[in-house]
Amino acid sequence: MEKTQILSEINEIFKDVLDNDEILINEATKASDIDEWDSLSHIQLVVAIEKYFKIKFSSSEIREWKDVGEMIKSIQSK
């Protein structure tokens, strides 16, 4: 799947999980850029992404994520 398509799809997941329709993420977006993206909502984001794409991440894999771009790379690798 293309990066842009994944980005668009996870943007919808971010809006839903973080309950903010204004969110517009890009590959450089970090947790610190979005008020609602805290440690607990991060768990819900990961779970929602795993469910949506029907994939599984490992704990070590998600620890490496520094921004949305790395999240997308993980999704692409599945």
Partner: protein, 130 residues
């Protein structure tokens, strides 16, 4: 605890539990406290607060799992049938998914009354504390 594991409990929605809930949270809406009012709305008698069931869920997660290192992260519940005082409820929860990435389990659960009718069902997501 693994995907597919099933946990069962029985809960007694006694008059003590009801009274303590009323005293603690003060929801004295007539649906919950006045038999005549409840009957006028089509119920057999006053209906127990649905959120009493959430108390049982709290007990299940906090006390009945193989580990105490747990925290509820998310919970959804749908109420299907009224529950009356002095009901005995069967509770069953099944692990639907384990998310190793975030060390979280997702349960599906239901409560059943003495007539084996589902009175409530839902999902709970818990995290395992390190």
């Amino acid at each position: 605890m693994e995907k597919g594991s099933i946990f069962m409990r029985e809960f007694d929605l006694s008059s003590d539990v009801y009274s303590l809930f009323l005293e603690a949270f003060k929801d004295k809406n007539p649906l919950h406290t006045d038999d005549s009012f409840a009957q006028s709305k089509g119920f057999e008698m006053r209906v127990m607060h649905g959120n009493i069931l959430n108390g049982f869920i709290s007990y299940f997660i906090g006390e009945c799992l193989p580990t105490k290192n747990v925290i509820i992260q998310k919970q959804e519940i749908q109420f299907h049938l009224p529950v009356y005082v002095n009901s005995k409820l069967k509770f069953e929860a099944k692990i639907e998914e384990f998310y190793e990435s975030v060390n979280s389990y997702e349960f599906k659960f239901y409560f059943e009354n003495e007539n084996r009718k589902k009175v409530a069902k839902g999902k709970i997501q818990i995290g395992i504390l390190k």
